[in-house]
Structures are given as structure tokens and as C-alpha cells.
Symmetry: C2
Subunit: 175 residues, 2 copies
């Protein structure tokens, strides 16, 4: 069994096309809370400027970024989401933990405006300085799943978040 | 200008956690058409089995995969989508071309069932053998954007697809 798992690993490499910038935030402060709904800029490198032509005609986008500060998961970790009593232990793929086999994050922020190579967005939960690997326009046919349902524990977790955050409008589904 | 763009590149590395399997399809046939809505299996490596605990409680998922057969874009390419007359030239980020600076694809298929380390899905547009880098449960709060709008040219393109495919039910929004 162990031997069968010893498949030769292949590696691919990725490189940042830009960075997340949060005006007023220091480049990295592990204790800081970054309001995910505050405006942030996706600063795309000038060399990719021409690849942004027409991008401003999308209202939302998909960003793939690299969890630069997270350790890569080397084992199939399981955890109780946020360590909260009453929630079941689930595997890392069932959560959005940054500790994953590949440190990839996905976010679907609103595109507020484009200023040259800066894409101003709201609704991205990423630290300032986070490397951006790819951006794609959000296309409802491909990306919107109206009938999507989630595990009970996630509904419970969201309800707890809403209560703790005073039911702030910005957290109401669908944000 | 040129000198200013000579920023030292950083690279991160990613490795497959599994592969896409399409029953009955050969591993790679560049001429083949793979019905994206046919059932496909995401074969996750057995070493990650425990990381899948609870994953079956999502109805949909996000898959990040690697466009293994596509050349990486080294320049900010622009193109007329599918080369169709009447459509504007747009930058690669405004399209879903596999020729991107980083060869990353995202898809949001329906999860039909889990059989051990095999996640059976429908609605993934990927060749058999495609390396899977990450999977996440589709969470409406994070991933569903009800009010998303797209460029006019994309609406035009979708309408053309619908007409050419005879308005097949499977292509009707939201699929």
C-alpha cells in the first residue's frame, strides 16, 4: 500500500502577475484584520497591461492567488472548523484553510473600476502583498451555481459569524 | 521603461493531487470533443483520502487544474474571441484561453457522488489526464455572484454557441 503511493511527483511552476494592495495597510501584519469588503487594488505588472484590454467590462472576477504565508500541507489534515464545539471534523479540502497541498486561493470580488494596471475590487479576503497568479472574468454560465448547497456545519458556522458580527449587512448572503 | 519591467521573478511550485478521468476516452486525443457535461471522475491520490472527509456534503465544487497541453503565455496576447467577425480584440485575461502566464484553469462542476478518492462530477471542461491542483467546496457566500454581468461580446458569443448547438438544454444558463 505504501509502495503504491510512491508515485513520482511532477511539479509545475507559477509566478506572480501582480500583488494585492490595501491602501493604508502595512505590507504584512499577522495580527491585523483586513476588512475583506474594503477596497483593495489588484496591481498587475505593467508588462501584462495589454492582456487587460476589455477586462473592465466584467462586473466581477475570479482571482487565483498564492497563500504566501501559509505552510504547505504535507499530510491530509482534518480539523474541526475554527475549532468550534459541535462542528464535525472534516478534511482540509472541505474547508478554505490556506494550509493545502498547493497554496492556492480563489476569490470572486466585485470589480469597481480599472485604473491602468490597477484593478480596484471589493470582496477579496487576502493580505496585502499577496501574490496574484491569474485573473479571469466572472462568467455566470461557468461560475455561478444557483442551486449550490453546502454542508450543515457550514450553514451553522455562517449563522454564528452573522451573530457575532451583529448581522452586518455586508455579510448577508449573497454578498 | 524596459529596465523598469525587469523585476526579479519569483516562482512557486505546484504538484498534482489527482487527475481528471473520462470513462471511455483515451488519455489524450487533441482532436476529440469531450462533452463537458458528461460524467467525469476527479481521481484524487489515495494519500489525500483523509483530506476528503465531509467533501461529499457539497453539491458543487471549485477545481483548480493545470492546462498541461497549453503553452504558457510569455507576452500579453490579445485576440478576437474564437476569431469571430464582429467581436472586439480583447486581452487574454478577458478570455478563458488556456494560454496564460500561469496555466491555471478553474471550473465549478456539480458533484454527483463520491466513491472513495473518486469524485464523480458533471460540468467540467477538461481533457482526460488533466492534473488537478486543488479542490474546494463551492460556497455561495464566497463564490456565487448573482448580479454578475459580462461584456457584450461574451453575450454575443454565448448566443452564437446556443444557436450552433441547437439550443441544447445543457447549455442554457445557468447550467
Amino acid at each position: 500500500m505504501h509502495a503504491a503511493n510512491q508515485v513520482a511527483k511532477r511539479w509545475f511552476r507559477v509566478t506572480p502577475i501582480g500583488r494585492v494592495r490595501r491602501p493604508g495597510a502595512t505590507e504584512f501584519d499577522p495580527g491585523a484584520y483586513y476588512d475583506p469588503f474594503a477596497e483593495a487594488a489588484l496591481e498587475i505588472q505593467p508588462r501584462w497591461a495589454d492582456a487587460l484590454t476589455g477586462f473592465e467590462d466584467y462586473s466581477h472576477l475570479l482571482v487565483i492567488f498564492w497563500f504566501e504565508r501559509a505552510r504547505r500541507a504535507r499530510k491530509p489534515r482534518q480539523q474541526v472548523p475554527e475549532g468550534r464545539e459541535g462542528l464535525p471534523e472534516v478534511g482540509l479540502f472541505a474547508t478554505r484553510t490556506p494550509r493545502r497541498p498547493n497554496s492556492l486561493g480563489v476569490s470572486a470580488p466585485r470589480l469597481l473600476r480599472r485604473e491602468g494596471c490597477n484593478l480596484w475590487v471589493s470582496g477579496i479576503d487576502a493580505w496585502p502583498g499577496t501574490p496574484i497568479l491569474d485573473i479571469k472574468g466572472y462568467a455566470p454560465r461557468d461560475d455561478l451555481r444557483l442551486d449550490a448547497t453546502v454542508p450543515n456545519w457550514l450553514e451553522t458556522l455562517w449563522a454564528a459569524h452573522d451573530e457575532e458580527r451583529g448581522g452586518h449587512e455586508k455579510m448577508v448572503w449573497p454578498s
